[in-house]
């Protein structure tokens, strides 16, 4: 029944529906976005293709600081994620014992609450009279005018909070894969605990860190919910600009140009990062 022709066609038939869906709702829209980014016009008269490259230079000139701030916040929050996630991932992977799955699922539990709701709750925690700042201020541990909301610190803390589990998981997976015999061998060869960690465990776990950085940096840089809710009007990121250019100003070509620029910048950053660390490591880590 299943002749050789049919068998050869099978994988194509299996990929076809998903492939068509991705073509129509992902690839073609991206192409149309690039096309829209070169058009001129307005919502009333319509938009026409004029290959208006100035949309790009105008966007960069007007919002270069927002791009820079997004990358800066992205860097800070990603580093904070690495610093916070590594010790916990290390402890769970090496000492978690039978409770490993419990600890891991506790780290993932926040994902059952909507991202927006989590950020609202985080805002509630950080408000001036909230459960954290209120008592500290009442006891005189903080000056009366101290506040966290509407600062860059609040945005970075929110970003770190929201994306931390994405960093813990890949680091945990990398640490978990380390053959315990390698560590034992290092001990047997009289390496000190710091030498074992610095020269055996850490290098073997770096692919997990690389993967975690790729998985968190891109979404953090393009996030705008945290900046909107926690940062107030003075700490907006490029995502906020794109969103308001689309919806408040209906400046579709400019907003498309900004979106494409954001994607291009992030691609270049990731590419340079992958090159600096050795492309194979990062690609392999990302594939896991």
């Amino acid at each position: 029944m299943a002749g050789p022709t049919r068998r050869r066609a099978a994988p194509y038939l299996m990929v076809l529906p998903a492939g068509l869906w991705m073509l129509v709702f992902f690839v073609i829209p991206l192409v149309l976005m690039v096309s829209l980014s070169l058009q001129t016009g307005n919502l009333v008269d319509g938009f026409r293709q004029t290959f208006h490259w100035q949309n790009y230079t105008d966007g960069l000139a007007a919002y270069g600081d927002k791009f820079a701030r997004s990358l800066w916040y992205g860097l800070l929050a990603t580093l904070a994620c690495v610093a916070l996630a590594y010790p916990a991932a290390y402890w769970i992977a090496t000492r978690g014992g039978r409770r490993k799955p419990t600890y891991l699922s506790l780290l993932l539990v926040p994902y059952f609450v909507s991202f927006v709701l989590r950020t609202v709750a985080w805002k509630l925690v950080l408000t001036d009279n909230g459960p954290v700042l209120g008592p500290l201020r009442d006891r005189g541990l903080l000056p009366a005018d101290a506040h966290v909301l509407d600062t860059g610190l609040a945005v970075v803390s929110g970003l770190t909070y929201n994306y931390l589990p994405f960093m813990v998981l890949p680091i945990y997976v990398a640490l978990e894969r380390i053959d315990p015999r390698v560590v034992e061998a290092a001990h047997d060869l009289y390496a000190s605990r710091f030498q074992v960690f610095g020269r055996v465990v850490l290098p073997l776990s770096l692919p997990g860190v690389y993967a975690g950085v790729v998985m968190t940096f891109v979404p953090i840089c393009s996030d705008y919910v945290n900046a909107e809710m926690l940062g107030g009007p003075r700490n907006t990121m490029i995502g906020n600009v794109i969103q308001s250019e689309y919806f408040d100003n209906s400046a579709y070509p400019l907003a498309s140009a900004l979106s494409f620029t954001l994607m291009a910048i992030l691609l270049v950053v990731i590419f340079v990062y992958a090159r600096a660390l050795g492309t194979r490591d990062v690609l392999e880590a990302a594939r896991r």
Binding site: M1, A2, A10, P11, M14, V15, P17, A18, G19, W21, M22, F26, P29, L30, L32, M33, L36, F47, L84, P87, A88, W91, R95, S105, L107, V109, P110, Y111, F112, V113, S114, V116, L117, R118, V120, A121, L124, V125, T127, N129, G130, P131, Y161, R193, V214, V218, C221, S222, V225, Q243, Y246, Y252, A255, S256, S259, L262, M263, L266, I270, A286
Partner: protein
């Protein structure tokens, strides 16, 4: 002999104390992650009378009793749940088929397909949303429920396909060949042999797709038009004052999610 054992024992004791330190740290980190969730659940029981649900004013179950008092909030929740269910169903079928083909067959275009999947996973959400909006603007398509659904299927296909691909790549082809030798046709082979083997990948892919869809804010905002889902409604309400019903719905979604995760984990353990 004893001379070498002593320092090693001391080192081990030191390792144990730093292990305790890390243990405390891990617990604190998890507490930090759970703190906002606890705040959300707590304020669903808050007997507040102002529009702002910020200050604790006493315990009440009023918001649980009047859960569906805000019709537009209820509509948003219904939209979220139905879109998540529908998009998960479509995504699971399309993603499983693609993941299976990519994991087990070598064919022309496989590299390109993998590249598209990687791109879809790495692409910033704002850009995906902007691209879909650009398409709607270009073709004058109305935005609403169908466009949200199409977008949700689009961004979750890659995750299901990758999960199933990983599972399928680890399968022993001999098992299926044996089924074929025993006279099983392609459909029987798939139903009785292949599908049960890749099932854990399919289930975790489907759960992931559901969570991604019900939680999505950015792409839904770009493709929704006048149609509002739960995260969009919550976002809009933060400007005017969020009613405690939102906390209650958040709590209920959270409870169902945890329950499903616990049950499926239990079933996996039992199966092993």
């Amino acid at each position: 002999m004893t001379a070498t054992l002593v320092p090693r024992r001391r080192a081990r004791r030191r390792a144990a104390s730093s292990g305790r330190l890390l243990h405390v740290y891990t617990v604190l980190l998890i507490a930090w992650l759970l703190l906002p969730i606890a705040v959300m659940i707590l304020f669903g029981f808050n007997d507040t009378h102002s529009r702002q649900n910020y200050r604790w004013e006493g315990f009440t179950l009023r918001w649980y009793r009047h859960l569906f008092d805000k019709p537009d909030l209820t509509t948003a929740l219904v939209n979220s749940v139905t879109i998540a269910l529908l998009s998960t169903a479509v995504t699971t079928v399309l993603g499983t088929a693609a993941g299976l083909a990519l994991g087990r067959h070598r064919f022309r275009g496989r590299g390109a397909a993998n590249l598209v999947l990687l791109m879809a996973i790495c692409c910033p959400e704002v850009v995906m949303g902007a691209a879909l909006l650009s398409m709607c603007v270009t073709f004058n398509l109305p935005r609403g429920y169908p466009t949200i659904l199409a977008a949700h299927v689009m961004f979750s296909i890659a995750f299901v396909a990758v999960t199933v691909r990983a599972r399928a790549a680890g399968l022993d082809p001999a098992v299926e060949e044996a089924a074929e030798d025993l006279g099983a046709g392609p459909w029987t082979r798939f139903r009785l042999v292949t599908l049960p083997m890749i099932m854990p990948g399919v289930v975790s892919g489907a759960l992931l797709a559901f969570v991604l869809s019900i939680d999505d804010f950015v792409i839904t905002g770009f493709t929704g038009g006048a149609t509002v889902t739960f995260p969009l409604w919550v976002y809009g309400s933060t400007r005017t004052g969020m009613p405690p019903q939102v906390n209650v719905m958040g709590t209920l979604i959270f409870a169902v999610g945890v329950l499903v995760a616990v049950v499926s984990a239990r079933r996996n353990v039992l199966r092993r």
